[in-house]
C-alpha cells in the first residue's frame, strides 16, 4: 500500500489525466493535414508539366500553337498515339521503345552481374594485386561516360559496334557504384556463413549461387530499379553511336524529332512520345516497389 501512495499522488485524478489526450490528437491532426497539404501542393507542382505534356499529346497541332494553351485533354488521343507508335517522325516509336528496352535491360542485367561477381571476388578471395584492382574500380567512379566518351567511341567504332545493341550496352556495363554496394553488403555477411557452407561442402561458386545471391535479392531489386532508369535515360551515348534511325532509343529519339531549320515540329506526336517514354520506368518502379523499398531501408540478413 505504502508503495502505491506516491504514485497516486503523482497521477492526477482520472478526468484531468485524460485531458491531454484529445489535445494531442488535435495537434497531431492539424500537423497531419498540414503535411498532407504541403505534399499535395508539391505533387501538383511536379505533376503539372506532365499533365501539360499529356494534354498536348491529345490535341491537334493548331490547337497547341494557338494561345491560350489547352488545359484539358482533347479528342486526338488515339490518332496521335497511333501515329507516334506506328510511324513516328524518323522511326516508329514502338521500335525506339524496343531499342530502349533492350539497351536498358542489357545495361541493368550486365551491371548487376558484373558487379556481383567483382564484389564477390574482392570480398571473398585473396589474389595478387587485389588492392590495386579495388582502387582501379574505385577510380572509374570518377570517370563517368561523358568524360571518357571520345576514347570509348574510338574503341567501339574500332570494333565495328556502331549502330548495334552491343555498342549501346557494353561500354556502359562496368559499374563501380554497384560493385561498392554489393561489396558493402557482402562485408556485413558473417564470415561464419561462408565457413559453414565450406564445411557443408559448397565450393565458392556454389556458395555464391545458393547463399550469397538469395541473400542479396533485395539489394539486387533496388539496384535493378535504379539501373533500369539509368539505362533507359541514357542520352548522350546513344546519340553519338546510333546514326541509323532504326537503332535510335526513345530518349534521344525525342530530341531527334525536333525539326532542323524552319520546319514545324509535330508537337502532339512529340508529346505522345514523351509520355510513352515515361511508361516503362514507371512500370518498373511500381512493380518492384515493395522489394525496392525493403532493399533501401532494411538489411534483412
Amino acid at each position: 500500500m505504502t508503495a502505491r501512495d506516491p504514485l497516486a499522488a503523482a497521477t492526477p485524478p482520472v478526468k484531468s489525466g485524460r485531458t491531454p489526450a484529445p489535445g494531442m490528437v488535435e495537434r497531431r491532426g492539424s500537423g497531419y493535414w498540414l503535411t498532407h497539404l504541403g505534399l499535395i501542393i508539391g505533387l501538383l507542382f511536379v505533376f503539372f508539366p506532365i499533365w501539360l505534356a499529356f494534354v498536348a499529346s491529345t490535341v491537334s497541332q493548331p490547337e497547341i500553337v494557338r494561345p491560350p494553351m489547352p488545359l484539358l485533354p482533347g479528342d486526338r488521343f488515339f490518332d496521335n498515339y497511333r501515329k507516334a507508335l506506328v510511324s513516328g517522325i524518323n522511326a516508329p516509336v514502338a521500335l525506339m521503345m524496343l531499342n530502349s528496352l533492350i539497351m536498358a535491360m542489357g545495361i541493368t542485367l550486365g551491371k548487376i552481374a558484373i558487379s556481383l561477381l567483382s564484389a564477390f571476388a574482392i570480398v571473398y578471395f585473396r589474389f595478387p594485386l587485389r588492392r590495386v584492382f579495388f582502387w582501379l574500380i574505385f577510380l572509374t567512379l570518377m570517370l563517368p561516360v561523358e568524360v571518357r566518351i571520345v576514347p570509348t567511341y574510338e574503341v567501339v567504332a574500332g570494333f565495328g559496334m556502331l549502330n548495334s545493341y552491343s555498342g549501346l550496352i557494353f561500354p556502359l556495363i562496368a559499374s563501380a557504384t554497384a560493385t561498392f554496394l554489393f561489396r558493402q553488403f557482402f562485408m556485413t555477411v558473417p564470415d561464419e556463413l561462408a565457413e559453414a557452407a565450406r564445411v557443408d561442402g559448397a565450393r565458392p561458386m556454389r556458395f555464391f549461387w545458393d547463399i550469397l545471391l538469395p541473400m542479396s535479392r533485395t539489394n539486387i531489386a533496388a539496384l535493378f530499379v535504379i539501373l533500369f532508369i539509368y539505362g533507359w535515360n541514357q542520352y548522350l551515348w546513344p546519340l553519338l553511336i546510333t546514326t541509323d534511325p532504326s537503332m535510335n532509343t526513345i530518349v534521344m529519339g525525342i530530341k531527334q524529332m525536333f525539326p532542323a531549320g524552319d520546319d514545324t515540329a509535330d508537337w502532339p506526336v512529340i508529346m505522345a512520345t514523351s509520355i510513352l517514354a515515361m511508361i516503362p520506368p514507371v512500370i518498373v518502379v511500381i512493380s518492384m516497389q515493395k522489394l525496392f523499398i525493403r532493399g533501401l531501408v532494411d538489411s534483412e540478413k
Partner: protein, 328 residues
Amino acid sequence: MATVSLDNIRKTFSKTEVIHGIDIDIADGEFIVIVGPSGCGKSTLLRMVAGLETVTSGEVRIGGQRVNEREPMDRDIAMVFQNYALYPHMSVFDNMAYGLKIAGRSKAEIAERVAEAAKLLQLEPYLKRRPRELSGGQRQRVAMGRAIVRKPSVFLFDEPLSNLDAKLRVQMRLEIKQLQRRLGVTALYVTHDQVEAMTLADRMIVMNDGRADQIGAPLEVYANPRTRFVAGFIGSPPMNFLDAGLVNEPASEAATLGIRPEHLQITTGEARTGGIVLYTEALGAETLVHVKLPDGAMVTVRQDSTAALPEEGSAVGLTWSDSDQVFF
C-alpha cells in the same frame, strides 16, 4: 567414430605465433573440452582441426589419416558455430539438408535423415520456418541438427551455448552431452566457461596463451593442477595462493603454496597461519569468508553455512591438511 591426433600443432598469423605446439591423442567417442581465457587460441586450434585455418606446422590426423591438406568437407567433421551461422533465407529443413544436397544424396535419403535428426532434437514442428522465426535455443538445435545429419566422425563446437541465457545453457549442455553419448561421436568443444568444461569433458585441455598447460580428466585437473595458471583458472572461487615461506613450509624451491577454498578451515585451535576477516558472503548452502593475511595476500575460505560465522574484522586462525596443498 574416429580418433583425432594432434601432433605438435603450431599456428602463425603473419609473424606472430599464437599456438605453440599442442599434442593430444583423442580416443574414439571421447568428449574433449578446450578451455581457457579469451584470446588463448582455442578457436584457432579448433579451426585447424576443422580445416578452416591452415596448419603452420605439425600434423592433424583424423581416423589415423593425415588431413592437413584436406578441405573441411573431406575431413568427415561437422561444426557448430557460436552464432549458429544458419542460412537466413533457407527453411530449417533446407538448412539441415544443404550439406547432403551438395553431397548429391537422393531426395528420399535426405528427407529421411533430416526427419531423424529433427525428431531427435524435437525440431519437427519448425521444419518449414526460417531461422529468424525461431528462438535462440531452437536455432541452436538447428545448428546441431545440421551437424548431425551429416553423420560425421567428429563434432566440433565453438562456444555453441554462449549466446543463450543461463537456464537454457544448462539444459542445452545436458542435451549436447546426451546426444554425443548416444551417437558415440568424438567431440571437440571450445568454451571459456569452466562449469561447461567440468561437466561435459571426458578430458579437458586447459590452454594458456597458445600452450596446453594441462590435459586431463576434469576432477584430476581440479585436484592436481600442474601449473599455477590452471589452479587459478579452474575452480570458482579460484584456488588460494600463499607465500610458502610465510607458512613455514620447508618445501625448498617452491615459492607458492596453493590450497582450494573448501580445504581451508577456520580454527580456534592450532593454526598454520591467520589473518583478519575482511568480509563474508553467505550464498545459502555455503559461506565464503575472505581473510587478509599479514603479508597482505587475500584468501577465501569456503565453509558450510551451518558452520559458525566469524565477525567481520576479527582475527581468525586458518588450517588445512597436508594432502590438500599443492606447490608451484
